[in-house]
């Protein structure tokens, strides 16, 4: 999709009309990327932070950063992988930022685990099934809460965003072996949480 950009850039030197057309084309292209990937980026950030407002802010920042660097995106990876990498870095920067240490400590706007577990799969019909599903979701949240930052990121990318291991490796900059190791530890912790309360 982005392979023609250098050719178009060469044309723009000669023709201002072509330059305007290329700009419009790039803007349209970016708009379509935003429209198609925004929900996924927001979902990942929401699951990572459990804070709707913070997730929205970081999503906005992610697309703002992507827009600024859109011309440098060469299409080596998919747009989704590129955007997810930006989102992960923004999230890391946010929590590491000294100015935000207060928020990191209190997580004032984050919803608690019970509230996060209130959202249930729509297919659950009976009251008992709903209760059981709520219990399971709560247990997984509880395990996710205790994961390291990297384990949590890998876990959410695999089991919420359903990325392949190779995509997760590409997004996080880890090797596939490391991704597998993080996932195994995360799963072991979730299984222990489920087993302990079963």
């Amino acid at each position: 999709m982005r392979a023609s950009t250098p050719v178009m850039a060469a044309c723009t030197i000669l023709d201002p009309m072509t330059m305007a057309t290329a700009d419009e084309h790039a803007a349209q292209e970016f708009s379509s990327v935003v429209a198609s990937h925004r929900p996924q980026i927001f979902r990942f950030l929401l699951a990572s932070t459990r804070d709707v407002d913070l997730a929205e802010t970081l999503t906005q920042e992610c697309f703002l950063k992507a827009h600024r660097n859109w011309s440098s995106f060469r299409g080596d990876s998919s747009a989704m992988t590129w955007l997810m990498r930006i989102a992960i870095n923004l999230q890391k920067d946010h929590w590491r930022n000294r100015r935000m240490q207060f928020w990191r400590q209190t997580r004032a706007n984050s919803v608690d685990l019970d509230e996060a577990s209130d959202w249930l799969p729509s297919g659950e019909s009976s009251q008992e099934t709903k209760l059981l599903a709520r219990e399971r979701v709560s247990q997984v949240w509880s395990a996710v809460e205790r994961l390291s930052e990297r384990q949590r990121t890998v876990f959410l990318l695999r089991y919420v965003e359903e990325l392949e291991l190779s995509e997760i490796a590409h997004t996080t900059g880890l090797s596939e072996g490391t991704v597998k190791a993080h996932l195994s530890r995360a799963l072991a912790r979730v299984r222990a949480e489920l087993g302990g309360k079963r």
């Binding site: 929900p39 577990s117 195994s184 489920l194």
Partner: protein, 147 residues
Amino acid sequence: MTWKPKWTNRTEEPAEIEASDPALQQALGDFKASVRAWSDAAHNRPRTVQSIVVHRSWQLAAGWSLAAVLLAGTMSGGFYEHHQRVVASQIAAAHRAEQERQAAAQRAVDQAQQEDDVLASVDTDVSREVPSAMEPLAQLTDEGDSK
């Protein structure tokens, strides 16, 4: 020291862990669905623009207030300036009248002095021309005695 086979330290594959535990699979599926439901609801929630409206009305009120203050300031400044000019002209007129009065008084004093001087000089001139009242009689007396 006991020997342990290498495979006992092998990390279990994530896929193997999932496959071996249906309860885990179920929990992961529920978790994914729950997060997606929450995210969709949060993403599609209506956004209110109340704060922006309030902000704008506040700005409007502040703008009108500022304009009113500026207008009042300008008008009161104008009135004050006008009042100052009136007072200054009144003071100047009074000053001029006083000066004219003093000049008129001075002129009257000068005129009176001038008249006095004229009368004094006339008196002096007249007194020189008139002979002494007893002088002719004295001459007659001298002439009779010699005869």
